[in-house]
Symmetry: none
Subunit: 209 residues, 4 copies
DNA sequence: TATGAATGAGTCTTCATTCAT
DNA sequence: TATGAATGAAGACTCATTCAT
């Protein structure tokens, strides 16, 4: 894909990736300044355009890079767990770990979700929708034991509600925290309470016994 | 406020408003091009700056304009209805009408919520937060009869779930529709089914009798 | 010359002239704002361009207007006085009166002298040089009794020195005063001392007896 | 200071300096067009703003550049000469050389002295007043042997007259020449005659013996 | 391969002048 | 005749991208 960039020394690659993610997260695609990235990464003006033909290509590379990152997270999940609430609980704690490993990724993901620039919007849709817009909702719902749900409720709808609640909760928390000590245990507990509430409501009585 | 613009012929005012909303919705504040607005509205370069002193003033005008628009919608709602699901149902059908009257407003609202530009961010917070960030969640939950909820669930959490579901559903639908024949009756029916599901789950049995 | 302007009611004419002189004096030709003149004179945008075809024509009119004003001052002088120092003394006190009658004229004259704008520079040279650059030096030196000067000095040079000294003194004073109580008696006395000094130096001994 | 500009090839630097001085001299600070400078210097639009952050910085650079130039001239003068007329004679011939080396400097200096733009006025005062407003009058009068003057004349006034005469003569000559073959020997001789005249008038008899 | 100076299309904004009413 | 909204050329300045070294 990006042979010139790939064959760079890893330390330099990382510097460029971090700088670019930081700048794109802060300013969005159009407003992001290649000058700022160059300065932060401590490379020459021309170099960036040697590695990537233009700003868009750099952005698309980062899109793929972040997608790979998320993919790896997903790979760590136990997809054999068939209880949806246990799975969502696991996802949350995995996100928690992920955040501490690579916090900028979250800011960038949020920026991607909010990106308006026409030039890259379609590419985002193509590559990232599954991760960004619904956190891989389809995948998350695969192999779920639907027999636990109450018979009188539409399972697809229930799953949507669970997912939207997860997204809503995440956004609410990120608004509240915003760069303090980040994700914390109390937030995980609060999320547990949401999951419990929904479990009590959506599962058959005997499942909640 | 904006006397020169106000005294314009309505047809021209509307052309300018529509063009500006379209451009700001598409590109955000910073990247939005006054040239594009001028071209789309079919007015002269200087005219825009006769009506509004600068780009920011135009944007702030649109902020107020859209706030007024939403306020009018809210005023039409029956705030004496204490059943949360009936209220959310009414809100949905009101949004439905609103969308058909002024579809661009929705795109612009989304753009406002995502706006990063420092120059206007504080103004957005000042004027729009109540509408944009939580769709007036607080207001929506005021005067709600909470005795109908099951005793074993946290009411605040339940309300959050209802709200996040509303937001999630709206986004899902708008993604699916995206400028075709707009909101339609089928979507309203589907939303009813979501509300019914949640009602069955969150309310006491007798309320669902 | 400017028939439309001339047939205006005098009160309105004066308002426009004062406003224009004030603005041109403050900002120079290019930078002067017709908007400012219009606002100050309390007339409509289009009116100014009815009376004068464009900014340049207005400026040229003011040039002539101020030239007439100066001409009137000169007409009041006693050109039969043949002693150059007495004449320069009279000129100074006439300027003194003139300043109190129409102070803006001086600021405008200074602005004219400093005007750089290509568009009007040649016109200034054509019409105003005699007044501005040398205060009508030629005229001032006409009919002077040159026999009073020492025989060993070049009369033309002596007269130049007297004139340059007058100009230098005027500029020095205007720098020092700069919009306080304007010209004052002390300044006139100091100027007398300069004239006395030069008289003692340039005139024959018997003239200073 | 201005590292990007400083490290340019000298030929290009000179082209830019000449073009900028020409434009600022012709039009003053505000009205001077960076487009014009760019065209005249044959560089790209963006280049000028790579070298200097903005128009003001370019102007301030020129201010310092011209100040250095004048300073060098002054340094060449013999400040141990205590006879004021000899000193003024030397100044004139130094100016003569200076003019032939860098004629535009004179026009620019005149423009600086007449500059009205608020944005740069205070900077001019800070850096240039000593050179511009009085041609370093104070400095010129330092270390002068005042005992040679006649006892019956005010020495400060006499010095002012000499200085104003110098300024007046310079302006008269520059008006007459105005970009032809520049300063010439005849002008220097004429200036000598003025100095002789004043010496005969202001000095004691024995000094003129 | 790495560099960073050079490029110029594009940005918002101003203002003298025109012209329909 | 008086009006002021409309016009658009010109202003300073930005920044992704190119290219000679």
């Amino acid at each position: 894909m990006y042979p010139k960039f790939s064959s760079l020394e890893p330390e330099k690659k990382e510097r460029i990736i971090k700088a670019a993610i930081k700048e794109f997260a802060r300013s969005g695609y159009e407003r992001a300044s290649t000058n700022e990235i160059i300065k932060e990464a401590n490379i020459a003006k021309g170099s960036l355009f040697n590695y990537f033909h233009n700003k868009k290509e750099l952005y698309l590379f980062l899109l793929d890079y972040i997608a790979d990152f998320i993919e790896k997270i997903y790979d760590e999940l136990d997809w054999d767990e068939t209880d949806i609430f246990k799975r969502f609980k696991e996802i949350a704690s995995t996100k928690f770990k992920m955040y501490n490993r690579f916090p900028q990724a979250f800011d960038f993901l949020q920026a991607i979700a909010q990106e308006n620039a026409l030039e890259v919007k379609s590419e985002i849709d193509k590559r990232m929708k599954k991760f960004v817009l619904d956190n891989g909702f389809e995948r998350m719902c695969r192999n779920i034991d639907v027999t636990k749900f109450r018979d009188d409720i539409d399972i697809e709808k229930a799953m949507n509600i669970i997912n939207w609640t997860a997204l809503g909760f995440a956004e609410q928390q990120s608004d509240q925290v915003h760069s303090s000590e980040d994700f914390n245990v109390e937030q995980l507990k609060e999320w547990d309470r949401y999951l419990d509430l929904m479990k009590r409501c959506f599962y058959k009585k005997e499942e909640n016994a």
